[in-house]
């Protein structure tokens, strides 16, 4: 193992984009500490592992956890995709992708299929991920019980005892009051039959994609200083009742651009007289579909 300083110098020459920082911004000791936390997290699926989260040059709550996880696992041969709200071109996704291009000089891509690492905020790509890919989630609040029990010491105890009746009661009360479970995003899941986990604020629509996903799923919460993971092919169940099963919901419409009736849609307000339309939230999925439709049309002509 090289001393961190030596590592720093050897990289400086290779990476021209910014000087004075180690490959991936974090020093090698920090990356090793984070990788240890990740290994522990993978070994105990859904369990939140505290880690010595660093003060990053981006604000807390803006993806510092996801960035630290990505920085710890990324290598020069990786291809990184960064999405926010499903899109590659939202400002925060652009900002994070630029950060890695500057501090790691890695190749970036907007195509889900070409990426080795996908860092995301609030969505899981529509294109199914495959073995060998890693999905890194930015997590604002890792504790699924925090609205029901704000004391961290107490929630740790409840996890240790696998006592999740608070959450079940909340879902029961939702149905008693409204006829439906009222949670639409950050919908709690049970991982490997043991730990209750926050899937991060993805829409409940995306929850089923987590179940037995072929890719490794890593979750980083920088401000709360916790890491957790779901290894490939792990059982991830959305909490529900036998007679009120979990139903992923999306707008009942087709994408205006690619016509998809399966993808998650953004609602776009087109005027101030009630006009709206729906487009895919996953920009890569939508663009790819438009491309194949275009070439199919050309072939037909």
């Amino acid at each position: 193992m090289m001393a961190p300083g030596a590592e720093n110098r050897s990289r400086e020459a290779a990476v021209e984009t910014v000087t004075g920082y180690n490959f991936g911004y974090l020093d090698e000791n920090t990356k090793r500490m984070i990788r240890r936390a990740l290994l522990k997290a993978v070994a105990i699926p859904g369990h939140q592992v505290p880690f010595g989260s660093r003060e990053m040059p981006l604000p807390y709550g803006w993806g510092t956890g996801g960035i630290q996880v990505t920085a710890s696992i990324i290598g020069p041969g990786d291809r990184l995709k960064v999405i926010d709200q499903g899109a590659d071109d939202t400002t925060n996704a652009v900002s994070i992708r630029r950060f890695f291009a500057r501090v790691a000089g890695v190749g970036t891509t907007e195509r889900t299929a070409d990426a080795t690492i996908v860092q995301t905020r609030h969505r899981i790509p529509e294109t199914p991920l495959r073995e060998g890919q890693v999905l890194v989630y930015q997590v604002p609040m890792p504790e699924p019980l925090f609205r029901l029990e704000p004391r961290v010491a107490e929630t740790k105890r409840l996890h240790a005892l696998a006592d999740y009746s608070l959450m079940h009661v909340k879902l029961y009360e939702d149905i008693a009051r409204t006829g439906h479970i009222a949670t639409s995003y950050n919908y709690p899941v049970m991982v490997n039959g043991r730990y209750l986990m926050s899937p991060s604020p993805i829409p409940a629509f995306d929850n089923p994609k987590m179940h037995r996903m072929a890719a490794l799923q890593l979750f980083g919460a920088g401000r709360e200083k916790r890491i957790y993971a779901v290894p490939p092919y792990t059982e991830v169940r959305s909490l529900d009742f036998e007679d009120h099963p979990f139903v992923p919901i999306r707008a009942d419409a087709a994408c205006e651009l690619c016509g998809s009736r399966e993808s998650y849609l953004d609602e776009v307000v087109t005027d101030d007289r009630g006009g709206r339309m729906f487009v895919c939230s996953d920009t890569d999925y939508c663009t790819t579909r438009q491309g194949t439709q275009g070439s199919a049309r050309e072939a037909a002509e």
């Binding site: 961190p4 920082y21 911004y25 020093d27 880690f51 010595g52 989260s53 660093r54 003060e55 990053m56 040059p57 604000p59 807390y60 709550g61 803006w62 510092t64 926010d84 709200q85 899109a87 071109d89 939202t90 400002t91 925060n92 652009v94 630029r98 905020r121 609030h122 969505r123 604002p140 004391r151 961290v152 010491a153 409204t178 006829g179 439906h180 009222a182 949670t183 639409s184 995003y185 950050n186 604020p201 993805i202 829409p203 409940a204 629509f205 401000r223 200083k225 919901i249 999306r250 707008a251 205006e256 998650y264 849609l265 953004d266 609602e267 776009v268 087109t270 339309m277 487009v279 939230s281």
Partner: protein
Amino acid sequence: MYVAVKGGERAIEAAHAWLAEARRGDPALPELSVAQVEEQLGLAVDRVMAEGACHDRGLAALAIKQARGDLIEAAFLLRAYRTTLPRFGASLPLETGAMRIRRRISATYKDLPGGQVLGPTFDYTHRLLDFALAAEGEAPAPAPEAPAEAATMPRVTGILAQEGLMQPEPPGDAEPPDLTRQPLSFPADRPLRLQALARGDEGFLLALGYSTQRGYGNAHPFVGEIRMGEVAVEIVPPELGFPIAIGEITVTECQMVNQFAGSKTEPAQFTRGYGLVFGHGERKAMAMALVDRSLRARELGEEAEAPAQSEEFVLYHCDNVEATGFVEHLKLPHYVDFQSELEKIRQLRATALREAAE
């Protein structure tokens, strides 16, 4: 045909350019130098060093200039720089008893060895805007000087301790925890709590300290002593094995003296609330001392119901860089979550309306 909004990258670049222009202000006016900030906005520099947890006046002044005077943003810049620095180890505890005093006051004794030293304080200024400062004036006449006190000034809490009236702090040789390396865990011991408070937001600690005085928590504080001045920082390099001084820094220390009724095992005595900050930060040091004492409620067997007495509440919320990030992240796009909420609300309303119709 609808075209999705693109150009995030160009928008960011344009925003940064505009920010740089706004930072400079009217180019007809001379540019503010970092040295001017350091010399003439010294208390802002001190605050940024304290909350940025990095003692470097020049960098703090640069951060203030870069942040356009936004002190939390400046503390953030300093922290993000600090985190990239190698960690050499911990210094020896500062010997504040040997401080070269610029200011020292006690509210508990009228006079005491070394006397009361007001120093450069706002305390007895009348808060009248001084319009003379608006005009570019000459440097003020030098302040009168007294001959330096030869003897060091004993600390008030030491005087109380001689009589056995002040609860002693347990000595510790252990290297203090570093919460920039290890996440907070609870119950947090006092060194960890003090470390979090020393980096904590002045406004938050001020409000919490104030709340203990208004009955939210059981505080009976006296300012035993506030002292501000220069102290030497010493480290023990492993290859030498003895302490060497690596420099001198300015700090403000506040020791609050609080009554403690005693318990079955301990007679009644005074207990300490402690505050220490970089630079001249008297308000912060005092608030910190109040909050430190209130966080000791549980270990002293007192009721612990008030916010200022809850370790989790105080320590998880006192960091203004964390708080700013999380509050401000709400302005990031949340289209996806909001869309799911829209669909859910429509579903719930449809169910309710259908039931009402039946």
